[in-house]
Symmetry: C2
Subunit: 484 residues, 2 copies
């Protein structure tokens, strides 16, 4: 990276360790959670104040240097993959909880604060922050906003966008924007929602005000085993159709169950074709009533075994198997590729059958672990990167799964974002007019395209090269809806 530029950056960041330029210091920043893609950044900046962020962005804007913002680096789609000639802007030192208002039930925090740390700080007030991605011990709230993260409980409590009320953002020109407010709605265009899931391409988030919720009086989990996958899929529909909104409703298939059981001994029936984990929370009475209903629905749907956690320890254990499913599957294969697509709930059985037949076609094993309640699938494709051609075959298989999701009216991402990983699948989901509109919005924030270039939204050229993959164009957007 240019020496004059580095000198200017050094002047903004004079403290030792605030500007990294040597290869061994840059190495930890070469990838995020999508480790298949790696690249060394030109430099890593670790500012501590909003004024420093503004100065860095102004400087990069003046010199036309690209900037990639990074939270905790736990993203799964390569959104924080650096650029060799760019600045990697780490928000790691923005790690303070600035204010917590138990009456308004809000917390104003810096973007580098860990997701779980917010709930820990809120607990003495009987409050917590609801969205809980699996990485919540490590991931940062700024990254959660950038990817619009979900989690096991987003079925009932919504995604990050539903739990954030205000942001402070710095534009590539170094301007500071206050977005949202403590009120329910804000005047002007909804930039608050627009920033969510924008993967660092519209601005750099320097402050987040989240909504907190009261810790439910009681939470209880039920595990149900099935000897065929479609029955479990139907049970999901039955629970939702009964008007119950579980706090979480997760499914694992036989392969995932066996892997998780061997790893953490959660007490899952190792020979089941599928299990459901259904959590209900609320007041004591509400939970008791819903538990009875859920038990009844699961029985009628053909569950071969139903187990209700008797205490907090058993509840933790049942969830632990689910939360450890990814690493558990990881132990069975040199590499795995975690997909993330979302489909309308009612298409679950058919999409699972489609994935099984693709698995046979590509000769690659798949473990299915997913947020069944909201139709968010996480098929894990097992492969070996050392077998020539297997990574490419895996990626093609993954793209076919996402195409299947779009075909049934779903989307190519549930909560992991697009990053570099799903650029081609964006061509499947969106047509030329829609992609052009995304580019126009990007241009409205970042005219020169300096913020995280090459991520999230593919160029029209790239889609044209891929050929006529667009799936939904011309068709009704929801062909599966019954005529009224």
């Amino acid at each position: 990276m240019d020496a004059a530029l580095l000198a200017e950056l050094r002047a903004i960041l004079p403290r030792p360790g605030a500007l990294l330029i040597h290869e061994e210091e840059l190495r930890p920043y070469e990838c995020d959670g999508l480790t298949a893609y790696r690249r060394l950044p030109g430099a890593v900046a670790l500012p501590e104040t909003i004024a420093q962020v503004q100065a860095i962005l102004k400087l990069c804007h003046r010199h036309g240097i690209p900037v990639v913002a990074r939270g905790a680096g736990t993203g799964l789609s390569g959104g924080a993959l650096p650029l060799d000639e760019g600045v990697l802007l780490s928000l790691a030192r923005f790690n303070r909880i600035l204010a917590l208002d138990p009456l308004a039930r809000t917390a104003r925090v810096q973007p580098g604060v860990r997701n779980l740390a917010i709930s820990e700080a809120a607990r003495p007030h009987g409050l917590y922050y609801a969205p809980d991605p699996s990485s919540q011990i490590a991931c940062s709230i700024g990254g959660n906003v950038a990817e619009n993260s979900g989690g096991v409980h987003c079925l009932k409590y919504g995604l990050t966008v539903h739990n954030v009320i205000a942001l402070e953002v710095v534009t590539i020109e170094g301007e500071r924007l206050s977005i949202g407010s403590a009120a329910l709605d804000s005047a002007g265009y909804d930039l608050l929602a627009l920033l969510h899931g924008s993967e660092g391409m519209l601005g750099v988030i320097v402050e987040v005000t989240v909504r907190l919720l009261p810790v439910p009086e009681r939470a209880q989990v039920v595990m149900a085993a099935f000897d065929e996958v479609p029955a479990a899929g139907r049970a999901v529909g039955d629970i939702i159709a009964a008007g119950i909104v579980p706090a979480g409703l997760e499914m694992m298939d036989g392969f995932a169950i066996a892997a998780a059981e061997a790893f953490v001994h959660a007490g899952y029936p190792p020979d089941a074709a599928a299990i459901l984990l259904c959590e209900v929370d609320g007041t004591n009475e509400e939970v008791s009533e819903h538990l009875l209903q859920v038990h009844d629905l699961l029985t009628r749907a053909g569950a071969t075994q139903i187990r209700t956690a008797r205490d907090a320890a058993e509840r933790q254990l049942l969830w632990q198997g689910r939360k450890a499913a990814f690493p558990a599957v990881g132990r069975l294969s040199p590499d795995y590729y975690c997909m993330d697509g979302t489909i309308p709930r009612r298409r679950l059985p058919e999409v699972l059958a489609g994935i099984a037949s693709l698995s046979a076609e590509y000769g690659l094993r798949v473990a299915n672990v997913f947020h069944a309640g909201d139709g968010n699938l996480h098929p894990l494709i097992l492969y070996d990167a050392n077998t020539p051609g297997e990574l490419a075959r895996t990626e093609e298989f993954g793209a076919r799964i996402l195409q299947l999701c779009v075909e049934v009216g779903g989307t190519i991402t549930g909560e992991h974002g697009v990053g570099v990983e799903k650029l081609d699948s964006m061509c499947v989901q969106f047509d030329r007019a829609e992609l052009s509109q995304f580019h126009a919005v990007k241009h409205a924030f970042d005219t020169e395209g300096l913020l995280n270039p090459g991520k999230a939204v593919p160029t029209l050229h790239r889609c044209a090269e891929l050929g006529a993959m667009h799936v939904h164009g011309g068709a009704l957007p929801f062909p599966e809806l019954d005529r009224f």
Copy 2:
């Protein structure tokens, strides 16, 4: 309007009554619910198909003719005020429910469908559409999206943006965009949220897919009277702090109570300083439990009278007084001006005191009716348009109320939008950088500024002329938050 242009419009809209150009036909379109502003459109187009909307917009784009989209014309901030040299594009003929899927709990409808008609169609399936603006008998779902409407129940069930999952939109260039999906989240920038509350300035909505909710097993309303307003304000905070999320939590002050009581005889205590209406819904057990708690909290907060509706008829009656409050107040004065601002709940007592002192300063009476649970105020300023200078004094008073809302961390609109009415107040709420960002977003959708020009976002020039009114710049966005 230019004859050649009219001929081209006629070619797109050949059916009788689909293109209006004579003054007596144009008259009904001269204003929306904000009747203080009136203007005749150049022509009114009443298309019936999306292809016609595309053709009209393409034509207007080619000729540089401004277009104002209109739903049912019930908006309260003049968002649908026409332009003499522009086309008023009415979506009134897009009035069909296209599909209703009880399992997915969604309805795909045309934008001219009335809000209440969706719930009526869903009722046989035990479902309903939650957002319920007071105008729900008449207002259209497309207009609800354009203004991001709320209603009595949005405290628990959210605004329009939280209840819509997909839109079909036509751009000013005549391109059709599919936004959102049947899945929980979508890839790409969140254009779905961005379109909500955009007041017809980014695109024309031609199809809306809404989420439906199960009709609650039971709903019950409690009325509580107080002999001082701050006590009622504190009771609101106490209910929320207890972890109860009422389906609705409304407040009326003494003036509004007396007016409503004289009009509909709802059984409100006519000498109370304030009443609260608190509705709880859910399962039987949940409602019973919450009713006990609410009763207890209201008693401890100093309620002088508490009444729980014994049956559906009494519940309807208690709500009827609230829903008729605007016309009831209207009977007491030649004219009234309905304000719409939102504040953090805890600032209620102080803002009400501020409004009272402004009322004395301006010598204008105010009735306060509001969604107390979410801090959305609707002060009604009584005035007489025939008294010279009184309208101007009323508007200045209104602007001072909104400034007060911004000063305590709130916003200048809760659910009525900005339209032409609150352009100046936007200068109070936002600074130069933020307004510039709004303009850039507008430009990303409508480069020539042909969609509903002059609404929602003021020019920087206009704000500069108003002088240094900006309130939040420089200060912390949430000065009221306790230090952690």
